[in-house]
Amino acid sequence: MLLQSGYIEAPSVDANFAETPEAYLIAVELPGIEVKDISLQVVGQQLAITAFRKPIWTSGAVTAGFTMTEGRFGTLRRSISLPPDANATGVAAQHGNGLLTITIPKTGNGAAHAPGVPVANVAIQAASL
């Protein structure tokens, strides 16, 4: 079952997809972004990832402006369509090492559409991999 990546806005973020018999797994690449600047929402059968990457380099009290950038900065959005058998209420997320790892459990009853969730925020746990 392919997880179709949804409408991609620019600038977007890269996501990698994996699957186990029990769950769908997504790893979203968000390097250099703090956990508090990431929000993960379930909107119906869609997964909405919004993050803000500050266009400055900070380390403690030291701040530096970028002279050249190749990465993406500012507000980054990505929405991913969930497959029909995804359990939208059981979405769990972890953030660590610049990676947001999302686990979406499967309902187990095949192609039957699981009831979507109107809007729900998913708590992101900090993980040190």
Binding site: A18, T20, G32, A64, T67, G98
Partner: protein, 244 residues
């Protein structure tokens, strides 16, 4: 053409403006004929206006016998014969006629610049993205390596090259679950990026911190000792736990 000239007020004849220009040029080159003043060379060519750098600029004709450089007996010595291949590839060596290695005689403090970042367009799928930042004290190279284990990264200095190598496993890893990806958009495998340091930059001053999926390489703008080459060295990457 001639019909249009009769309607131009104050214009008599066809060559008056050209004559005026020619008069000005004549005055410029030959002086003012009314005063008899002859203009000389412009002031910036007058002696004493600017110092003369004999090593720059077009040289005047110097007779071979008068040039002391030709008195060097090494010109006749075949050991110091110049190999024209050296002019094509400076890596082959230095002109043996030179008494000083020009690669070492350049003050690196004069050639200090931001570390050069090669564009990664050719191998973009294998190159991590780099962001450059600058503080008053240091240049920063912020390399994006999301999902890379710090044990799989290495930072090496070879000559004036700073080589960052990392390996990213194409595996979704949550600590407990380990699955291979079936669809990827990121960069996996061996990721390599090469930066060029100023000549003689000491590897001991380079710091690297791996925080939140990106490596920050700190290159302090300290004074660089003259005429030193840097042996190959490994740079330790410090792991720092991001504040949550």
């Amino acid at each position: 053409m001639m019909m249009s000239q009769q309607y131009t007020p104050g214009f008599v004849g066809g060559y008056q403006p050209i004559d005026a220009i020619r008069t000005d040029l004549n005055r410029l080159f030959y002086g003012d004929p009314r005063t008899g003043e002859a203009l000389g060379a412009p002031h910036w060519q007058q002696p004493g206006y600017a110092p003369v750098y004999p090593q720059f600029g077009p040289q005047g004709f110097i007779p071979v016998q008068a040039d002391p450089r030709w008195a060097d007996p090494r010109w006749a010595d075949p050991r110091f014969a110049f190999d024209p291949r050296l002019a094509l590839d400076p890596r082959l060596g230095v002109d043996p006629r030179l008494s000083v290695d020009p690669r070492l005689s350049v003050d690196p403090r004069l050639t200090w610049m931001a570390p050069q970042v090669h564009s990664a367009h050719l191998y973009s799928s294998l190159s991590p993205q780099v962001n450059c930042a600058e503080t008053p004290d240091a240049h920063l190279l912020v390399v994006e390596l999301p999902g890379v284990d710090i044990r799989d990264t290495s930072l090496q200095v070879a000559g004036n090259q700073l080589i960052l190598t990392a390996f990213r496993k194409p595996i979704w890893n949550n600590g407990t679950v380990t699955v291979g990806y079936y669809q990827t958009e990121g960069r996996f495998g061996t990721l390599r990026r090469v930066f060029h340091l100023p000549p003689g930059y000491p590897a001991s001053q380079i710091q690297a911190n791996f925080v939140n999926g990106q490596i920050t390489i700190v290159l302090p703008k300290a004074a660089v000792p003259m005429g030193q080459t840097t042996p190959a060295a490994n740079v330790a990457i410090n792991a720092a736990i991001p504040a949550v």
